[in-house]
């Protein structure tokens, strides 16, 4: 398995704890992780996909501006001739939102999966493996659940 994951926080958002831990967890699970850090623009993500042949893009956002920050993101990805799997996770709306509604909104924008901020790295890892048709070896399964 050598899938490459582009990881970053979009917009003006500077919350680094989540991606630091996600980075570590994805690396341990065997993915090649390119962590572009906080305050990354749409173009930063797209450039990273191009430069590293990214198979998936994990966008994190915790400050409530994700909808604004991601507007046109999937159109830009398509214009660049790319087709990575795209996930987004975090606190995606300002205020006390109904997550189902938020999820539908981001799905409509083109994200393959939408996670809330309670999501554990293992869930994202499992989703990536499912979406990429990566079969876990017994060894890996043991490690992940230990």
């Amino acid at each position: 398995m050598s899938a490459t994951i582009i990881l970053g926080v979009i917009g003006s958002d500077a919350h680094a704890v989540g991606i630091t831990i996600l980075d570590q967890a994805l690396s341990t699970a065997g993915f090649d992780v390119v962590n572009i850090g906080v305050q990354s623009s749409q173009q930063d993500f797209i450039s990273a996909v191009e430069a590293h042949e990214g198979d998936a893009v994990l966008v994190s956002s915790l400050y409530g501006h994700a909808e604004q920050d991601c507007r046109g993101f999937h159109e830009a990805i398509e214009s660049a001739g790319l087709d990575p799997i795209t996930y987004i996770g975090g606190n995606l709306a300002v205020g006390q939102d109904d997550f189902e509604q938020t999820k539908a909104c981001f799905r409509a924008m083109g994200f393959d999966r939408v996670f809330d901020s309670e999501t554990k790295p293992m869930e994202a890892i499992a989703a990536l493996k499912a979406d990429m048709n990566i079969t876990e070896s017994e060894a890996e399964r043991t490690r992940l659940t230990s």
Binding site: V9, G11, S12, D13, A14, H15, A16, V17, G18, T20, I21, L22, Q24, A25, G37, V38, Q39, L62, Y63, G64, H65, Q68, G89, G90, N91, A93, V94, G95, Q96, D97, F115, D116, S117, E118, T119, K120, P121, M122, E123, A124
Partner: protein, 482 residues
């Protein structure tokens, strides 16, 4: 070249004019602003209200884009919440100096009625808007933001009647931004502090509050305190006389009380005698449980800690913390839960064992860091702090900023106190380091595992998962959100 010296009056004026080009604000005049401040009643003089209080004052966080909404929100927090001090939290675009985007957001908010910004764009509201806000409520209001270059924000809000301003060149750079240069940020804050000092010299005492919690997640107390003291020193050089040093709850009672005591003592020791040092305690700034009942437990533990440690101010959280910006009702509820515990506990004489030992350990560690900073700068604290971050001798865990090494990793010991697992090049004496290492080894043995990044990740999630310490096997590991 960056130096910790007071900006001249000419330089202050020059910058003052230059920054107004960043966004067209109505012209305003320093003398007129001083006269405006002089016209405010004592109950709106932030430093006076804070320094005269005989019990910890409560302050929530709150900011919405529209002026009328912000007034209504703050009135609710005063009335239904019983807040003693009020906040105005600034939106993220303003923090990035993207005033045009903030303007669009404000206009969208006005048209749609939705809060399309995550705070109050004070620069866009201008001096007149700020004054309407100041006049619309009873208590004094602090500007709370996270802006690396806060010069225009300070100029507008000070002229607008605000008398307290959170942040500093380190605490609003390291946790809030990726690419901003630290030396340049310090220069920008020299202007902010110099302007606060200019008002102070005219009898309008502007309170300045370094942001203590930094990245908000398991920050070792010695790091938070050392940086707070450095920001205090930088502000004092520019003429600030009212400094509120901050610290964010880590959840261990002994460590939190000891840290607050150390914060006050070191602040008073390192800052000149004519500076009034006050302290602020932030209720837990890390990830919250996704359940209001459990969140109330986290808030309440913070309140109980504050009741014993007796800081001058407590910044409260709401039971809806997990879900982002709380409703005004939840925000007021967090204030009242905190108030109930504070008032039930603060009259009790509660003396917890082991605080002095922990306080001395924290103080020794802070001195070790500050000595190195001053040495690196050849006694110039501005140069020293830049050099210290460059060399990693001072560092902040989970920092997004390229200016910090972020090599330091924290974890909890067997008693739940935050210790340092990875030091990077942090300038702690070897005997201090060994305390951290020994304590973490003891925990690892107790859990029959090795100290590792997994321990850090488990601890980051522990409180939102319902515990203090991320014990092996106590949850599914990992750290999705915070």
């Amino acid at each position: 070249m960056l130096r910790d010296t007071r900006l001249s009056a000419e330089k202050l004026s020059r910058i003052d004019e230059r920054i107004r080009d960043d966004w067209s604000v109505e012209p305003f005049d320093f003398e007129e602003a001083v006269a405006y401040h002089d016209s405010l009643p004592d109950k709106k003089r932030f430093a006076k209200v804070l320094q005269r209080a005989d019990r910890p004052l409560l302050q929530p966080r709150a900011g919405v884009p529209r002026l009328d909404d912000q007034i209504a929100l703050l009135r609710h927090l005063e009335g239904a919440g019983g807040a003693d001090l009020l906040p105005t939290t600034i939106d993220s675009y303003t923090r990035d100096n993207e005033y045009e985007k903030a303007q669009q957001g404000l206009e969208n908010a006005r048209e749609s009625g939705d809060d399309t910004l995550n705070g109050f764009p004070a620069v866009n509201h201008g001096v007149e808007g700020c004054r309407k806000l100041i006049e619309g409520v009873d208590a004094p209001i602090e500007v709370r933001h996270g802006t690396p270059d806060a010069r225009l924000l300070a100029a507008v809000t000070f002229a607008g009647g605000f008398q307290s301003f959170e942040g500093g060149p380190i605490s609003y750079n390291i946790p809030y931004t990726k690419e901003r240069d630290l030396a340049q940020t310090i220069e920008h804050w020299q202007y902010v502090d110099r302007l606060a000092g200019a008002y102070t010299a005219r009898g309008v005492e502007i309170n300045r509050e370094p942001f203590g919690p930094l990245t908000g997640t398991l920050v070792p107390p010695c790091i938070a305190i050392a940086i707070g003291v450095v920001e205090g020193l930088l502000a004092v050089t520019q003429g600030v006389r009212s400094i509120t040093l901050g610290y964010g709850q880590v959840g261990n009672l002994v460590q939190d009380i000891a840290a607050l005591q150390a914060l006050r003592e070191l602040g008073e020791e390192y800052l000149p005698g004519d500076v009034t040092v006050t302290t602020v305690f932030h209720e837990w700034m890390g990830g919250f449980p996704p359940d209001e009942a459990r969140a109330n437990g986290v808030i309440a533990l913070g309140a109980a800690t504050a009741a014993i440690a007796n800081p001058d101010k407590v910044i409260t959280k709401s039971p809806q913390e997990f879900g982002g910006v709380p409703t005004k009702e939840a925000n007021a509820a967090g204030l009242r839960t905190t108030r109930q515990i504070l008032d039930m506990v603060c009259e009790q004489d509660i003396d917890v064992d082991g605080i002095e030992e922990e306080r001395e350990f924290i103080e020794d560690s802070v001195r070790s860091l500050l000595d190195t900073i001053l040495e690196l700068g050849d006694e110039d604290v501005a140069q020293g702090i830049v050099a210290a971050f460059e060399t990693g001798t001072i560092d902040v865990p989970f920092a997004p900023s390229d200016s910090a090494k972020s090599a330091v990793l924290p974890a909890r010991d067997d008693d739940g106190r935050v210790r340092i697992l990875e030091f990077g090049d942090l300038a702690l004496e070897p005997e201090l380091k060994s305390v951290h290492t020994n304590r973490l080894d003891r925990r690892a043995r107790a859990e029959n595992r090795t100290t590792s990044f997994q321990m850090v990740a488990d601890d980051v999630d522990a409180i939102s998962d319902g515990r203090l310490i991320g014990r092996r096997g106590s949850s599914q590991s990992g750290g999705g959100g915070a």
